[in-house]
Subunit: 216 residues, 2 copies
Amino acid sequence: MIKLMLVDDHAVLRDGLKNILDMETDIEVVAEAVNGNDAIAKVKDEQPDVILMDINIPEKNGIEATSIIKQLYPSVKILMLTMYDHDEYFMSAIREGADGYLLKDAPSQQVVDAIRAVAGGQSVIHPTMTKKFLAFQQPKAAEPVEEKVEGALTGREKEVLLCLVKGMNNKEIAGSLYISDKTVKIHVSNIFKKLGVKSRSQVVIYAVQNQLVPLT
Amino acid sequence: MIKLMLVDDHAVLRDGLKNILDMETDIEVVAEAVNGNDAIAKVKDEQPDVILMDINIPEKNGIEATSIIKQLYPSVKILMLTMYDHDEYFMSAIREGADGYLLKDAPSQQVVDAIRAVAGGQSVIHPTMTKKFLAFQQPKAAEPVEEKVEGALTGREKEVLLCLVKGMNNKEIAGSLYISDKTVKIHVSNIFKKLGVKSRSQVVIYAVQNQLVPLT
DNA sequence: TTGATTTTACTACAAAGGTACTAGTGTAGA
DNA sequence: TCTACACTAGTACCTTTGTAGTAAAATCAA
């Protein structure tokens, strides 16, 4: 059974959601709050699993409340359900630890599914926000310059590049690729020429800036 | 009516999907392809609205095929449906223009919903991937470890660090800070010890990963 | 097959990087 | 004042890095 808390200053919306959720046998509304401070207080008493949180509420908005609740009770899942698809709201909510971000125009079923998903430890984003998120993360697309430069690297050189951005020295690269360290030097020198840099540090910077390789 | 193309080298999976999609009145499977090149060719002939693409297919994998198709026909929506939740696959798919990324363990209904969503211009990500996405974008919060490490660097060391992540060599740093290159060496060595790395390349990687310094 | 490219590897050398130690100066705080 | 630390700079030494030039085997496209 998923214990849910609703946080919204509009009784109509809370009641509507309760009606919808009443039909779900695995979700129980254990608490309701009408503002940020109210929500923070009731988390302690009611220990909900998931909080459905509006952003535009009095006495600490939903994002501030999320931040505080997440600090006090990190295991509580918080799903933002709001009218606004503003980027700043979205990013702030995510930054403060929200587990999901839905817009109020989402169909009821989607809200129900999202509650189950965050209760199960997953994160959910409204498709419209996902789009923005992707757009935000997608500043690459077709950039002929880097394409050309990266394309100029041979297969082996790309492998060496991967090692370089891991901070490996020539000997380590040689061991990793089963070739001599003299050969590694050749590849490294060629990479330098092709990328137009003068040291391995600069290779790392170039690769990161041009997203030639994944980090982390 | 949404015109759909299936790309997967496993007939069983294609047939299973077709069965499921047959029950949806607004989706029609107009083409099937068994590998990357096949898919690229059939897009031209069949002009699908949405492509359901597996990653692990022969003759150009799904990501490469996505990249090419998106370049030729930017309006075609591509939904990756794959067994792998590897970060690199996911990020690559997104980078190459995929409109969605679902895992094959997603319930059928979710796949159907996702097809409609991308056909409508939205983007969809499997909740598990969303989680990773958020985690990727969420390195803020309170991280005492890095704070401590960064705090351990003296003022001068931080200045040297800034130079290091610009790819400067010792002489350049010395000239920039109006000190001897011997002194620079001292600072660099101290930075290495404090950050626990062994070369300037690793300093750059460390700084990027821990966001000690701005890039771009 | 021919020719171009890739990958491999060597020698030799110059430059840069990195460590260890000593040591003087200045500054901030107990 | 005394201590701790930061900053500076040097010497010495060794390692790593990077370049140049040569060259052979493998691969691949024309």
